[in-house]
Symmetry: C2
Subunit: 402 residues, 2 copies
């Protein structure tokens, strides 16, 4: 560790406190909270103010005796993150500022399966350009972009396999034109990172949820089933970045064959297609989200086939989730993606399996809840991950060439 690292570290510590506080903290409060002296905090805050990462809040009318403190808030006219998402039946773009507010959000519904990767990415680039224009108009500077894809992605942004999209070895950053205005690498990170949809959705849930360092499993039920694993407040990506393939956890070793080559995988019981088929909606040939909405309506109306399909799917999901909870000792499971609207019916059987199968459930219960973020959660999560990177290491942003 060099000498200058000290200042870098303290920039991150102070900025992190400002971000985590529930009300704008003063310099004095930051000093008390961090253990640094007020002199040091003042110097650090001066750097942050100069770099447009924080701003002084409007003075609050009533405080008490003494010189009034000036609260510090995250800047809403500084850097922002661009979040993009390609999924089977929609494209999305959004912009999130440092404070975590969604400042722009577009969702474009269309079945992407018959479309070539090149064409799909061209359409996405259009959405991105519009988002960028919007951001510039509001005085924001895009600091980077994250693209969510429903598949396995390697470090270079190559989409190795996106089965439900029919993609294989698609070099996304090159095709997306590397997002012309984002060409500068900030702090060694490329301007566009491509990541798995489930990972980014879990990140979104992490930052939308309560503060702290939670551990939870975010299950994303789309055509496939992905999971994002958050451990101690950090996304766990696995040795090669391919963690979370929960869809192929074996439920019955001799169950129906799965396209992965195994038998009785979770996906054959709880994948979107399996649920819809069991509910008698298979032939309808509706777009996936419409079909899910329809299923929720039927279940709400008490349709027996729908209720039975959801109960069975929930039980299979519960078996898999119970194994994960036993293994990782998680206290929360989040139902996201296509499962979020179905949560009222999936939750009871999942909870039942957990309480049957998790050793420690008796002492400390496991929470199962729908995702806090709605549509295109992965896009929002991706945009959030961009600004989080700046919050975690502000020195890199402050030292940028521009």
């Amino acid at each position: 560790m060099r000498q200058g690292s000290l200042r870098e570290w303290n920039l991150a510590v102070v900025l992190g406190r400002i971000a985590a506080a529930d009300r704008p903290p003063s310099r004095a409060e930051l000093a008390a909270g961090t253990g640094l002296t007020r002199a040091t905090v003042s110097a650090v805050v001066e750097d942050l103010l100069a770099g447009r990462l924080v701003a002084e809040a409007e003075p609050t009318p009533r405080t008490g005796a003494g010189r009034p403190s000036r609260g510090l808030v995250l800047a809403t006219d500084g850097p922002a993150g661009l979040g993009l998402e390609i999924n089977v039946d929609y494209l999305a773009a959004c912009v999130v500022d440092l404070a975590g507010r969604v400042r722009h959000h577009t969702v474009h519904r269309a079945d992407l399966r018959p479309v070539s990767p090149t064409e799909a990415l061209a359409r996405l680039a259009e959405l991105a350009a519009r988002a960028r224009a919007d951001a510039t108009r509001e005085g924001l500077t895009l600091a980077g972009a994250a693209l969510a894809v429903p598949g396995l992605v390697d470090d270079a942004g190559l989409v190795r396999l996106a089965p439900n999209l029919g993609w294989r070895d698609v070099p996304v950053p090159a095709l997306l034109g590397a997002g012309a205005p984002l060409t500068a690498h900030v702090d060694g990170v490329p301007p566009l990172v491509v990541d798995n949809e489930a990972n980014l959705a879990a990140l979104g849930e992490l930052h939308a949820g309560p503060a702290g360092r939670p551990s939870f499993l975010h299950v994303s039920g789309e055509v496939g089933i992905g999971a994002g694993i958050v451990l101690d407040g950090a996304l766990f990506r696995g040795a090669r970045g391919w963690s979370g393939e929960i869809g192929h956890i074996p439920i019955r070793p001799d169950g129906p064959p799965c396209r992965c080559g195994g038998r009785g995988c979770l996906e054959t019981y709880t994948g979107q297609e399996a649920i819809l088929a069991a509910a008698g909606l298979a032939g309808a040939d509706l777009p996936a989200d419409t079909a899910t909405t329809r299923l929720a309506e039927l279940a709400g109306a008490g349709d027996p086939a729908a209720l039975r399909a959801l109960a069975e799917a929930g039980t299979a999901l519960g078996v898999a989730v119970a194994g994960v909870v036993n293994l990782l000792d998680l206290d929360t499971v989040v139902l996201g993606g296509g499962y979020a609207p179905l949560a009222p019916w999936l939750r009871p059987p999942v909870l039942a399996e957990i309480s049957r199968r998790v050793l420690t459930a008796a002492w400390s219960p496991v929470t199962v809840r729908p995702a806090a973020l709605g549509a295109a959660a992965a896009a929002v999560g991706g945009a959030g991950s961009v600004v989080r990177r700046i919050l975690a290491r502000p020195a890199g942003w402050l030292a940028r060439p521009a």
Copy 2:
């Protein structure tokens, strides 16, 4: 971060490099490796030498031109860790020095099930006293102790549940007399930490194995089945410290009932008792380790019942492990505890299930290997965790009152 933290950090960085190096590094090499100047490294090393954490190695006869370098090694007469273990059929104590060498090791075989916790811990205290005397004779200073228990342990060292030992809510630190000579808290950590046997065994494997930041699953097959999860070179304990309960992952949701209340848990297929019963060794009433040895002999001799039992157990284990590997994207699975001697027969079916069920196995193979540490791996791992704590934060040790 205070100003002094800089030095604290650099002490840890330099000490870590010395520990990780495969041959004693010189101050100059450390400077080149860390990016610090030689002046700084010299100052840091002086502190470490004064604190008896490192020592200068014997000068090597041949070097080349220039002033000969003086290699630095971890001290073997400084702090050491005491590792203790209570299991169903043995007690163990060992002492590990900073360099990771086992300087003392005693295993005392006895069936602990009919013995009261108080009596068992009294016997263990005796082993610990002997280990301590040995350590003192060799010039070592015990810096702390870790006790491995086959059960769920909370932060305060209370054993909530050790089913195979028949323990429930046993306040171990109080009963062990808190190990009289270890009463000082070093750096906020109590002198005795109690932890799960599988966790400590995994830690032992982590440090005995190759350097780096590996991610692996260490499966410990004793009477119950526990697993220690190492992610990015760190043990993952879970939200409440109860991770790794792999024994109750569901294999067949409608399989035989398990004492946990669920059905078809892994333990009902691959627990020690289940394997022995399937091999026709159930009635023999041998101590567990003897029975395992006998089973290995039978399998080695080609006994059909033994081979069939092991193949079936390995398949069930493989199903569970495949799910874990899919979920966490691990590249290594270690067979430890009672599984280590059976690894030649368990490995093929486990590998077969992994290659059938793990999506990414085709691109990057998963290694399945027996544990590197032998008997009482958890005791060695626990002792190692004590000295690792010092290596990770040497300033705390250097600043100790004594």
